[in-house]
Amino acid sequence: MGSNTSDAHPIIANRMKKAAKKGLKIFVIDPRKIDMTKVAEKHLPLKVGSDIALMNGMMNIIIQEGWYNKEFVERSTLNFEELKIHVQQYTPELVESITGLKYEDIYEVSKAYSQAEKGMIAYTLGITEHHCGVNNVFDVANLALLTGHIGREGTGIMPLRGQNNVQGAGDMGCLPNMLPGAVPLLDEQSKEKFEKAWGVTLNPHVGSTLTSMLDKMKDGQVKGLYIVGENPILADVNQSHTRAALENLDFLVVQDIFLTETAELADVVLPARGWGEVEGTYTNTERRIQRVRKAVTAVGDSWDDWYIFTQLANKMGYSMNYDTSEDIWNEVRELCSHLYGGMSYERLDREYGLQYPCPTEDHPGTKVIHTEFYESHDKVSPFTSVSYTPPVELPDEEYPFTLTTGRRYEPYNTHTQTKYYPETLKRKQTEETVDMHPENAEVLEVSNGDWVTVRSRRGEVKVKVKVTDQVQPDLVFMSFHWSEVPTNALTIDEFDPISGTAEYKACAVQIKKL
């Protein structure tokens, strides 16, 4: 659901395809006819942003038909009656009209998922990059709870992580409300533990999310910013908003391996070492911690990211001294022993990787979490009823198309690394296109390779056309990989109120032939 798996997670897609050959039934729920549809039992091409209407409709069917896991719901959930009444509003007619799907297809996927012995929902940014991203995730969880597809091997909710260490960065405490080891800042006991270990009094106020920090830079509350290995000028929504925020800072430091579009705005640029030059660990999408190793001597006068921080800390009067990344990891293991206590470098080297929690040296790591639902029966989780809300900016006469954005197979994010592929390497796509349905191309009188202007209320870009029935009529798709076509000049700075994630997946645009 909302995962272009074969482009964004090709090796996971390979595993899914292999399993499909052995009988795994895959339903692809995605506005686009992505490659995964080729191995799917069925593709449900829902309208962008209609996920909650679909999932509530599915739950209504599952409850009405008595297909839900009654034993699990009674034992392990709360608020079932409330959910049942809430989803009754999502009648077949309403759900068909919001999602654009056929009722019989929704019925079929509802039956297949709820009646399967094991069912899993894999999702990616198609679920989270909406103004209602958190509600979307709540509804995915509601489906898993209703069917009891959680806490057993082969079931569960699988958010496929987009970056190699996005899981680890959060787990290490690079979040405004969380300390290392996935404990909340507002938990007094945890806070005290870290205060004692670090010899400081911590700021008790939860910080701002990245997207709200940009607002605070624009209005002058945040005056200094230190960016580590990120390129928000190309990666964040509404480029002119991002640029105005960064330009309003008193002081901007960018630490990176290339002079990115963002680094060009900095007051100071610090040269970091990158992958291939550093030692450490990453945490993958299934909580597996694996080693990354130094392969070659680092370029020029670059330093390890962590070493730069320690030297700066010492200059600012706080003593931070580590000889190796292993020293740092051992501090993490000590302070977050409930997750990593048993994961020494020596053991990670020997066993290739370990899935946390792994509290002690003799612990095998944890492949499946939430098993308490089935084993000890002492875990109870509430349903959270949520309602469908349409994308913030819907198409209208002036801006008649919906633009949805995402990734393509070969480039990675803002392409700062993948643009160094050898020129001889055969690729599917080497420049950005706006992907549009043949019907729309006919009306606009454009064909493959023709130049058009794509304009939103926030900006415009010039881009070539790709005509494809992968997209629905009136829906267009673009990625943000190529700096020549900064797609995020178009996207909208509307955010989920809880997660702060932006609505990359839907905004309104007009298209003019050049």
């Binding site: 090796i11 996971i12 496929l160 190699n164 260490n165 996005v166 680890g168 960065a169 690079c174 979040l175 409300n177 670090w198 106020h205 701002s208 920090m213 830079m217 509350q221 945040v222 200094g224 910013l225 230190y226 580590v228 290995g229 964040d236 008193d250 391996i257 002079l259 060009e264 007051d267 100071v268 640029v269 610090l270 040269p271 970091a272 990158g274 992958w275 291939g276 990453y282 993958n284 299934e286 990354v292 190793r293 020029g300 006068d301 990211d305 921080f309 030297q311 700066l312 800390a313 200059k315 600012m316 990344s325 993490v332 990675y412 700062t416 993948t418 592929y421 690729r427 997660s499 994630t501």
Partner: protein
Amino acid sequence: MVNKKEVKTTCAYCGTGCGLVLEIENDRIIRSRGDKEAPVNKGQACIKGVFGYHFVHSKDRLTSPLIRENGKLVPATWEKTLNFVASKFAAIKNSYGGDALSIFACARATNETNYITQKFARSVLGTNNIDGCNRT
């Protein structure tokens, strides 16, 4: 004489975490392949895993700290640069408090770097204004 070795590591692109074997010749990565012993990918690798390493040896890599002087970024020593950064951050913190400062952390960097990044934000800058591209 050609100095050859192989180094096992983890791919740094998507969140799958494929194990890779890097073939090194004279301190340069010359080939990358999926590691058959890796539990995640069992020898497979995608185009990014196999061909995505070329950036490491690019001539465009940053090799020195840079400070903006008269509108242009010019090379400087680490000592001078870090003193400058430390004094600027300290001045903002002293005038407006730690919450006038902020860090965008890196979801591509190691756990070790991310742990130190947030420790720096919380213990040195005195702010919880730390976040990453978790939300993008």
